[in-house]
């Protein structure tokens, strides 16, 4: 059996490395010609340095992105704490900033290996064909990641004929898998390029290796400064390309979905508005006046959007744990299912897991900065919890169902 397996592997191996017939030489035209590219400014060392930086950047984006995905779609084994309150603000800010800073890195990396796209013969053997296909997958997935991310923070969805979150998520797995395989294939070249000195061959007037790396670094830094003000408020005055300003919006706070866009304008101003608070075996209807008569608490918490912007605000309202106790459950072991008045929408409801449900900072907020919530911020009542993505901070809350945590 073991011998058979060994024979099979040897057989596959020899088939994979069997040379394929070369294509007719007459097809070797244009960029496929020998010497079609001046490669003196390119080198394995340059490519390896850019690749190493890009690898670190993609790893940071992958880990922070996966974290954001798990917080929004938690499997049974996953838990996310409610403290520190600004942790998600940092991880998601880093996700977006790192992705944007990767733009010049990826551009330079692809430029440095572009002549290899036209190597001759196009495929030497089946193994080479598979390797080239995985390179195509890597480049396509990396471009997919950066371009879809840029379009998303600019909220321009027409060029993306798919649901952004799903496309960005699965192409991230494709990129990271292809990246692992690529590092495996190229490891000897990377090792040599990074450990042995390699002379500079850039002709006069071309960017030297150091010059190119410097320019890429300046570009990455410039992009970071120009956009990071969307979450690092002190940078806002110089962040001329920030898609958001932390102080711009109704009640000095940005908004993603407006009351008009969510189609809740009639429901939220209906004098018959009641919050349905459901516990085991009973439901209570609370008017806005009833809610305002309950003990009020004030917290300073950020809204941290998946798009990388964030802003701190002062919220006042009823503690969720007080509502859980009122519904008849011990707040220490309960979770809450919070539903919006929106009739539909991907984020109309969310489950507040036990760490956030029992956290005294988690509020059903009625006021923002001392004033009643603006309709676009979730009037008459919204959820605000520490260390959670903005899409899970349900606005226009109409129903809270409290249950024992499973």
């Amino acid at each position: 059996m073991v011998r058979d397996a060994g024979r099979l592997i040897r057989h596959v191996h020899s088939w994979m490395s069997r040379p394929l017939p070369p294509p007719p030489a007459a097809l070797r035209r244009g960029p496929l010609r020998r010497g079609a590219f001046d490669t003196r400014a390119r080198s394995p060392r340059l490519t390896s340095l850019l690749g190493a930086a890009l690898g670190v950047a993609f790893l940071i984006c992958f880990v922070t992105g996966l974290l954001s995905h798990l917080i929004q779609h938690p499997p049974a084994w996953f838990g996310w704490p409610s403290r520190p309150v600004g942790l998600y603000r940092v991880t998601q800010g880093v996700h977006v900033a790192t992705g944007l800073a990767s733009v010049p890195l990826l551009g330079a990396k692809l430029w440095s290996v572009y002549p290899r796209l036209f190597s001759w013969p196009p495929v030497r053997d089946p193994a080479h064909a598979i390797e080239r296909a995985s390179i195509a997958a890597l480049v396509a997935a990396a471009l997919f990641q950066l371009i879809s991310g840029i379009l998303n923070i600019a909220r321009w969805y027409e060029p993306m004929p798919f649901f952004f979150t799903a496309g960005h998520y699965w192409s991230a797995w494709l990129a990271i898998g292809a990246l692992l395989a690529h590092i495996g294939v190229q490891l000897p070249i990377i090792r040599t390029a990074l450990t042995r000195p390699s002379p500079e061959h850039a002709p006069a007037g071309a960017l030297t290796r150091r010059g190119l790396l410097g320019a890429v670094g300046v570009a990455a830094g410039l992009i970071t400064v120009a956009t990071a003000g969307q979450t690092v408020a002190p940078l806002a005055p110089v962040s001329v390309l920030a898609p958001r300003r932390p102080r711009t919006g109704p009640q000095q706070l940005p908004v993603n979905k407006t009351a008009g866009g969510a189609g809740v304008r009639d429901a939220i101003f209906d004098p018959a508005y009641r919050l349905a608070l459901t516990g085991p075996g009973r439901t209570e209807s609370l008017s806005l006046a009833d809610l305002a008569a309950l003990p009020q608490h004030t917290v300073v918490l950020p809204i941290s959007c998946v798009e990388g912007w964030s802003a701190t605000a002062t919220w006042t309202g009823v503690r969720l744990r007080d509502l859980i106790a009122r519904a008849g459950l011990d707040p220490e072991g309960a979770e809450a299912y919070v539903e919006s008045l929106e009739a539909r929408g991907r984020y109309r409801a969310t489950t507040v897991p036990p760490p956030h449900a029992r956290d005294p900072y988690t509020l059903l907020a009625l006021r923002l900065g001392g004033q009643p919530l603006h309709p676009d911020h979730g009037y008459p009542a919204r959820l605000i919890a520490p260390n959670r993505p903005g899409v899970l901070q349900t606005k226009w809350v109409g129903r809270i169902t409290v249950r024992r945590a499973s």
């Binding site: 010049p104 797995w173 007037g205 960017l207 890429v216």
Partner: protein, 150 residues
């Protein structure tokens, strides 16, 4: 082939397979995502990069050799910023009832960044030329020896 390489290639292959199966079974992901995947590859490899190379060739043809390097650096930096800025400048994501989305004049912001890039590379170029001028015992170093230490 070393064990490390085998593990990396094997793990990478499995993760890619997970991505393909996950994408194919995700109801939120329709065919458009595959079109986009191929479209960005073609747009980069067959349009953007050839145009960039053509621009580089034009610099080699028309810009005097001693100012070519700063021009190349400035255009590279400018191109990277432009890629990030274009969807913001076009402003197609704006929504009538939500002025907090894309609140700035991004065209103006991009021009300001272009100006900063021009100024910065111009200054760097001037400083280098002053430093590189042979004065007494300090001789100009050859360009070839400078890049090896990075």
């Amino acid at each position: 082939m070393t064990t490390v390489r085998r593990v990396l290639i094997g793990a990478g292959g499995l993760v890619m397979a997970y991505a393909v199966i996950g994408a194919l079974t995700d109801a939120d992901l329709k065919g458009g995502a595959y079109v986009f995947l191929v479209a960005v590859l073609v747009a980069h490899d067959a349009v953007l990069l050839p145009l960039t190379l053509a621009a580089g060739a034009l610099i080699g043809r028309f810009v005097p050799v001693r100012s070519r390097t700063p021009v190349r650096a400035a255009l590279l930096i400018g191109l990277a910023v432009t890629v990030v800025a274009t969807p913001l400048v076009l402003g197609r994501g704006r929504v009538a009832d939500n002025p907090s989305i894309l609140p700035l004049d991004y065209g103006r912001g991009l021009l300001e960044i272009y100006a900063a890039i021009g100024l910065g590379t111009g200054l760097a170029w001037a400083v280098r030329r002053i430093r590189a001028r042979p004065t007494g015992s300090r001789r100009r170093r050859s360009g070839g020896s400078r890049g090896t230490s990075c």
